[in-house]
C-alpha cells in the first residue's frame, strides 16, 4: 500500500465513510478506506452492548449500498461487515491519518504508522468523538497507561493513578476508590471543568482521605519498577507495584509506585486535523462547523466532509452523504435525499414542486437566513413547517411559552402587545425572537392577516444556527433591540425614534454569578435584562440582603436610574448566564425629559420596585433562602418541585405517583438533592427557560409545550447528550421494554435488545389534573413553583423561620 495512489481516499470507517466506500467499491472506483481503529465503525462499536440503534429521522429515505434499519447494534455491525466484502471495499485498519497535504488531484496523507497515501479526492468522515488526549511523557506508551475504564468493579487492591480533573476522571476515580487505592493527579487546583455534583463528590472523597490527590501535578515519566526499589516501600498496597512514575508538584518532584494509570485528559477534536489543511470553519467556537458547498465540498477543492463532523449527527444522514458525494464525483447529478420531504412541505406553496427554486427564494427572501450556507438552510427547512393560518387566527398568544420562531413568507401578521396599535409584520420579517432570547412566555399575541403563509422553525434548530452563524446572531440581535425598545420601553414612539435609539444600545453578556455593578459605582448605564436573571442586594451591616429579583424583560435598578443619584445604592449580580441591553444613562435621562409617557411608565416601574424592596429589606433572612434557591437553578425554572420539610412525612407518595403514571419509573428522586432552610429540592426537572438539555440532541427529540414544559419524544436515540448537558442531573437513561408483536409474544422470542432512552419529568402532560407528584402529596409539602415565585417563597420561609 506504500505510496499507492487512489482516485478516492476516504478517512474514517463510520457509517459515512463506509457508505461512501461501498458506493465507490460497487462502481469500481479506485479507492481506499482508512480506519484508525482495528474494526469498522468505531463509534458504533462503543455503544452499549445490544443497544437498539434507531434510524432517525424516520422520514428520510436511506440511500446507500450498505444496509441500515433500526435494530440491534450487533446486527447492524454484522450487516456492515458483510457489506464491506460484498461491495469490495478496500478497507485498511490501524491507519490513523495524522496529516494531509496537497490539493485536488494530488493529496497526500500520512498515517501514524508512517505510511503515506496519495489520492485525487478525499472524503473526511472522522466523526466527532475524537481521540483521547495521550500522555506524551517518556514511558507514556507503556501498557499500564489506559485511556478508558471498562469496569471499575473488575479491579481490586491495586494502586491506580487517575490523571485529569474533568467529569470522566472524577467518576472513574470515585468508582475505583471502592476497592483500590486511588491517586488523582490534577494539573490545576480545583475542579472547574466538572459538573458541580461531581466536584463536590470528589472534594469530599479527598478530604475524607478516600482518594489521595496532588494538585498542580504533572506526570514527568513512567517506567517499570525494578524489584528492589519496591522492597523499601511501606505497608500500603503499592508494595510490589510493577510501575513507578515521577510527577512534578509545587513542592518538587515525587515518585509514585502504582499498578495502572487511567488518563482521562479529554479528547482531541478532529477539527485540528481538518483545519490544518486549510478547511475554513464558520466561526472559532468549539462546535463550529466547516464551510461546505451543497455537495459537501469544503473550502479546499476536492476535499469533502460528511457525517457528524459536517454537523449531521445521525447515522442515516452520514450514510446518505457518503453515497451522494461519490455519485457527485462520478459525475452524476443527485437530488439530495431530502428532496421529496421538502417537496411535500412546500406543496402548499405556489410552484412548490420546484424545491430548488423555493429553497433559493427562501434563502434570498428571509434576511435572517441570507448569510447561511445552502446546506444549513436545507437542514433547517427539514425540521421547519410551512403553515397557513386563517385570517384572524392566533399564531401564538401572549403568556404562552414558545418553542419555535416564525418567518413571514407572505401576507401579514399583527403583533399585539398590551396597549397601542398592533405592529404589522410583512414578508421577510421575523416573529417570536423575544421569547427565543428570553426563554420566557411571549410578551405579545400574534394574529394572522389575510393570505398569511409562515415558516415555523423550532428553537433547537435556530439555537444551533445562533451558535455557529454570526450573521443569524447579528440579525436576531438587531430585531430584538428594535422590538424590545418598542414593546417594553416606548410603545408609543415612532419607528424613527426607536431606530435612532437602537443605534445607541449595547449588548452585555454576564457569566453566572458575575457582578454587574455594585453599591457606590457611578450610574453609567440603564439596563434591560434580555435573558437570565439578576439579583439586587444591599449591604446591611455584615451581610448582603437581597431586595429584588429581575427576570428577563425587566429593567435593572430603574429606581436608581430615576432617583437623580449619581451612584448605585444596590449590588447587581447575575444568577444564571445573563444577557442585558443598555443605553448610557445620560441619553436615558434626556429621553425621559423629552417623553412624558415614558416618564410616567418609568414612574410606575419605580413604585413597584420600591414596594418590593421594602418588603424584602424587612426580612434579611429571606435573602439567604433566596440565594440558596437561586444557586440550585431556580432562577431559570418554569416549574420546579419544592418540598417543605416541615410538612413532609416521608411517605414517598410523590415518587409512587410518578412511577405509577410513568411506566413504573419514577422521574423524581425525593430523597436526593439539596436541602436548606427546610426547603428541599428533589432531583427533578426544573423545566428551564433555556433548557440546557436541548442543546446537541441529534434527532431534536426534546421540545417544549406552550405551558413551558420540556419533554422528550419517542425519537430519542439514547445517545446520552442531554444527560450530560443537564446541570441539575435530572435526566436518567432508562431501559425501556420494546414493544413485542403478538407473534413474538406467542413464540416467546425475547427481544435481545436494550432500548435505553432518556427519561425525565414531563409535568404529567398526559394527565388531566396536572403533575401527579403534587396531587398525591397528602400533607401539602410538595408544590411546584416558577422562577417568579422564588422571591415570595423565600419571604414566606423567612417568616416561618423567624
Amino acid at each position: 500500500m506504500l505510496d499507492s495512489n487512489f482516485d478516492l481516499v476516504i478517512v474514517g470507517a463510520g457509517p459515512g465513510g463506509l457508505s461512501a466506500a461501498a458506493r465507490a467499491g460497487q462502481q469500481g472506483m479506485s479507492h481506499v478506506l482508512l480506519e484508525a481503529g482495528g474494526a469498522h465503525a468505531n463509534t458504533i462499536q462503543q455503544y452499549q452492548q445490544h443497544k437498539h440503534v434507531m434510524a432517525e429521522p424516520s422520514v428520510l429515505p436511506l440511500r446507500s449500498d450498505m444496509e441500515f434499519a433500526a435494530g440491534r447494534r450487533e446486527a447492524i455491525l454484522e450487516s456492515w461487515e458483510r457489506g464491506i466484502s460484498r461491495a469490495k471495499v478496500n478497507i485498511k485498519y490501524h491507519c490513523e491519518v495524522t496529516a494531509i497535504r496537497g490539493a485536488r488531484g494530488n493529496f497526500e496523507m500520512s498515517t501514524k504508522s508512517g505510511v503515506s497515501i496519495r489520492g485525487k479526492h478525499i472524503i473526511l468522515a472522522l466523526g466527532v468523538q475524537g481521540h483521547p488526549r495521550r500522555v506524551t511523557v517518556p514511558g507514556g506508551d507503556l501498557p499500564c497507561v489506559q485511556y478508558t475504564l471498562e469496569s471499575a468493579d473488575a479491579l481490586r487492591g491495586e494502586t491506580i493513578v487517575v490523571v485529569g480533573a474533568g467529569d470522566a476522571a472524577i467518576e472513574n476515580a470515585i468508582a475505583l476508590s471502592r476497592s483500590n487505592s486511588v491517586i488523582l493527579l490534577n494539573r490545576n487546583s480545583g475542579f472547574p471543568r466538572a459538573k458541580d455534583a461531581n466536584a463536590a463528590r470528589i472534594t469530599r472523597a479527598i478530604s475524607a482521605g478516600r482518594i489521595k490527590c496532588f494538585m498542580h501535578a504533572e506526570v514527568r515519566s513512567v517506567q517499570a519498577s525494578d524489584a528492589r526499589a519496591n522492597g523499601r516501600q511501606a505497608s500500603d498496597n503499592s508494595a510490589g507495584a510493577p510501575y513507578r512514575m515521577v510527577i512534578s508538584t509545587q513542592e518538587g518532584e515525587r515518585t509514585l509506585a502504582f499498578h495502572r494509570v487511567i488518563a482521562r485528559l479529554g479528547a482531541i477534536p478532529p477539527r485540528q486535523l481538518v483545519e490544518s489543511i486549510g478547511v475554513r470553519f464558520l466561526s472559532s467556537e468549539a462546535d463550529a462547523l466547516p464551510e461546505l458547498s451543497s455537495q459537501y465540498e469544503s473550502t479546499v477543492p476536492g476535499l469533502f466532509v460528511i457525517g457528524a463532523l459536517a454537523g449531521y449527527p445521525l447515522i442515516k444522514q452520514a450514510m446518505n452523504q457518503g453515497f451522494e458525494v461519490v455519485e457527485h464525483l462520478l459525475g452524476r447529478a443527485v437530488a439530495p435525499a431530502d428532496h421529496d420531504i421538502l417537496r411535500d412541505k412546500f406543496r402548499i406553496l405556489r410552484g412548490g414542486s420546484d424545491v430548488e427554486r423555493i429553497v433559493s427564494l427562501i434563502h434570498k427572501g428571509l434576511p435572517i437566513f441570507r448569510g447561511i450556507q445552502m446546506l444549513a438552510l436545507r437542514e433547517l427547512l427539514l425540521v421547519s413547517r410551512v403553515v397557513t393560518p386563517g385570517k384572524r387566527s392566533s399564531i401564538f398568544a401572549r403568556g404562552d411559552y414558545a418553542s419555535s420562531i416564525f418567518n413571514v413568507l407572505r401576507g401579514e401578521v399583527h403583533l399585539e402587545a398590551g396597549g397601542g396599535a398592533p405592529m404589522i409584520l410583512r414578508g421577510g420579517q421575523l416573529l417570536g425572537e423575544m421569547s427565543l432570547i428570553s426563554g420566557r412566555p411571549h410578551e405579545t399575541s400574534a394574529l394572522a392577516g389575510a393570505d398569511c403563509i409562515l415558516l415555523e422553525t423550532p428553537h433547537s434548530a435556530i439555537r444551533k444556527l445562533l451558535r455557529t452563524e454570526q450573521s443569524v446572531r447579528a440579525y436576531i440581535d438587531t430585531v430584538y433591540s428594535l422590538r424590545a425598545l418598542r414593546l417594553l420601553l416606548m410603545p408609543h414612539a415612532s419607528p424613527e425614534t426607536i431606530h435612532a435609539l437602537s443605534k445607541a444600545v449595547s449588548l452585555h453578556r454576564f457569566a453566572p454569578g458575575a457582578e454587574i455593578f455594585k453599591e457606590g459605582d457611578p450610574i453609567e448605564r440603564f439596563y434591560l435584562v434580555r435573558s437570565g436573571s439578576v439579583a439586587l442586594s444591599r449591604r446591611t451591616g455584615e451581610q448582603d440582603t437581597v431586595v429584588a429579583y429581575c427576570a428577563a424583560n425587566s429593567f435593572l435598578d430603574a429606581l436608581g436610574c430615576l432617583s437623580g443619584e449619581t451612584t448605585r445604592s444596590l449590588n447587581a449580580k447575575s444568577m444564571v448566564a445573563t444577557e442585558a441591553l443598555s443605553i448610557d444613562h445620560a441619553s436615558f435621562k434626556a429621553l425621559l425629559k423629552a417623553d412624558a409617557r415614558l416618564a410616567a411608565k418609568m414612574d410606575a416601574e419605580r413604585t413597584e420596585q420600591l414596594t418590593q424592596y421594602a418588603h424584602m429589606q424587612a426580612r434579611p433572612k429571606a435573602g439567604n433562602v433566596f440565594s440558596y434557591l437561586m444557586s440550585h437553578g431556580l432562577g431559570e425554572a418554569t416549574s420546579v418541585l419544592v418540598i417543605d420539610e416541615t410538612l413532609c412525612v416521608g411517605c414517598d407518595q410523590c415518587e409512587k405517583a410518578c412511577a405509577a403514571t410513568h411506566e413504573g419509573v419514577s422521574r423524581l428522586d425525593r430523597s436526593a438533592g439539596p436541602s436548606l432552610h427546610s426547603l428541599h429540592l428533589p432531583t427533578s426537572c426544573r423545566h428551564c427557560e433555556h433548557p440546557h438539555c436541548m442543546r446537541d440532541c441529534p434527532p431534536s427529540a426534546i421540545h417544549r409545550l406552550p405551558n413551558g414544559e420540556v419533554y422528550i419524544d419517542e425519537t430519542c436515540i439514547g445517545c446520552g447528550n442531554c444527560e450530560e448537558n443537564c446541570p441539575y442531573g435530572v435526566i436518567q437513561m432508562a431501559e425501556k421494554t420494546p414493544k413485542t408483536s403478538l407473534f413474538e409474544k406467542l413464540m416467546r422470542t425475547k427481544p435481545a435488545e436494550t432500548v435505553k432512552t432518556a427519561v425525565k419529568c414531563d409535568v404529567c402532560a398526559s394527565l388531566k389534573g396536572g403533575p401527579a407528584c403534587v396531587r398525591a402529596c397528602p400533607t401539602g409539602a410538595a408544590i411546584r413553583i416558577h422562577a417568579e415565585d422564588v422571591l415570595e417563597l423565600a419571604r414566606q420561609r423567612a417568616v416561618a423561620l423567624e
Binding site: 411517605c651 407518595q653 409512587k656 405509577a660 398525591a776 397528602p778 417563597l793
Partner: protein, 297 residues
C-alpha cells in the same frame, strides 16, 4: 405557597365540619323526642345515616390515596376533609347513640369508631409535629448523607489503624462491621436501641476473645482510652490513637442522630398499622350494626 392539610384552603373543611357539628348539636339539644334520645328516633336515624355515610367517605380516602391518576380533588384536600370530617363523624355518631351503651354489637361499633378516631388524632399529631422535629435534629443531612459520613469515618479510622498495628486494624474493622445502623424491622426501628457490638481480645487465643456491647461506641472508646504508651508504641502511634478516639466520638454522635431519625420515621408510619385495621374492623361492625337494626325493626 405551601399549605398544610390543617389550613388547606383557609381551613375549608374545618369550617364545614365545624358548622355541621354545630347544627347537629343544636338540633340534638332542641329535639324533644317522646322517648329518651336514642338511635331509634327520627333524629337518631338521620344522624346514624349521616355518620355511616361519613365513615364510608372517610374510608374512601384509602382508595383515593392510591389512585394516582384520579382527578377527583387532590390528596391534600382529601386528607384535610378526612381529618375534619372524621372528628365531626365521631360527634355525630355519639349524638346518634344518645349515650345508650351496652354489651352489644352497637357499642362495639361505637368503641371501634372512637379507637379509629383516637389513632387518627395521634396520626395528625405525628404529621404536624414530627417532620419539623426531625428536621431540627438532623439538620440538613439526609439519611444517605448520615450513612456516607459514617462510612467515611470508618474508612478514615481504618486507615489510621493500619498505620498503628494489625491488631488495631482488626479491632476497628470488626467494630465497623458490627455497627448497628438502626435499620431492621419496625420494632427495632421504634425501640431505637444501639445493638452494636465489639470483639475484644483479638489476636489472643480464640476462646479468650469476647463479644461485648458497643452501644454508643462506648466499648471502643474505652478500649482505645486504655492504651498506654508501651514499649512498642511510639509518639506517632499515641497521637493516632487520640485521633481514633475523636473519630469514634463523632461516629457515636452520628449514629445517635441517625437512630433518632429512623425512630421518627417509624413513628410516622406505625400508627397506620393501627388505624387501617381498626378502620376495617369498624366497617365490619358498622355493617352488622346496620343489618341488626333493620332486622329487629
Amino acid at each position: 405557597m405551601h399549605q398544610s392539610f390543617i389550613n388547606f384552603r383557609h381551613y375549608r373543611y374545618g369550617l364545614i365540619a365545624g358548622v355541621a357539628s354545630l347544627i347537629t348539636l343544636v338540633t340534638y339539644l332542641l329535639d324533644r323526642p317522646r322517648v329518651p334520645p336514642n338511635g331509634g328516633t327520627w333524629l337518631g336515624y338521620t344522624l346514624g345515616t349521616i355518620a355511616a355515610l361519613l365513615v364510608i367517605f372517610l374510608a374512601l380516602f384509602g382508595i383515593r390515596k392510591r389512585s394516582f391518576r384520579s382527578t377527583i380533588g387532590t390528596a391534600i384536600g382529601w386528607l384535610s376533609a378526612h381529618v375534619y370530617l372524621g372528628l365531626a363523624a365521631l360527634l355525630i355518631a355519639t349524638l346518634h347513640s344518645g349515650m345508650h351503651f351496652g354489651r352489644n354489637v352497637h357499642t362495639v361499633a361505637y368503641v371501634l369508631m372512637c379507637l379509629v378516631t383516637l389513632s387518627g388524632c395521634w396520626g395528625v399529631y405525628a404529621y404536624v409535629s414530627f417532620p419539623g422535629a426531625m428536621m431540627q435534629q438532623r439538620g440538613n443531612l439526609r439519611r444517605s448523607e448520615f450513612l456516607r459520613q459514617i462510612a467515611e469515618l470508618d474508612s478514615s479510622s481504618l486507615e489510621l489503624a493500619e498505620s498503628i498495628s494489625p491488631q488495631m486494624t482488626q479491632l476497628l474493622a470488626e467494630g465497623a462491621r458490627r455497627t448497628d445502623l438502626g435499620g431492621g424491622n419496625l420494632w427495632k426501628q421504634l425501640r431505637s436501641r444501639d445493638e452494636s457490638t465489639l470483639l475484644l481480645g483479638i489476636g489472643s487465643a480464640p476462646r479468650r476473645s469476647s463479644l461485648v456491647s458497643n452501644a454508643n461506641q462506648r466499648a471502643l472508646i474505652r478500649t482505645l482510652a486504655e492504651i498506654r504508651p508501651g514499649r512498642s508504641s511510639s509518639e506517632v502511634a499515641l497521637s493516632s490513637v487520640q485521633k481514633l478516639l475523636e473519630l469514634a466520638g463523632s461516629k457515636a454522635v452520628l449514629l445517635q442522630r441517625l437512630r433518632r431519625e429512623t425512630q421518627f420515621a417509624a413513628l410516622l408510619r406505625i400508627w397506620l398499622f393501627l388505624h387501617v385495621p381498626l378502620c376495617c374492623a369498624l366497617l365490619a361492625a358498622l355493617c352488622i350494626h346496620v343489618v341488626t337494626v333493620f332486622l329487629y325493626w
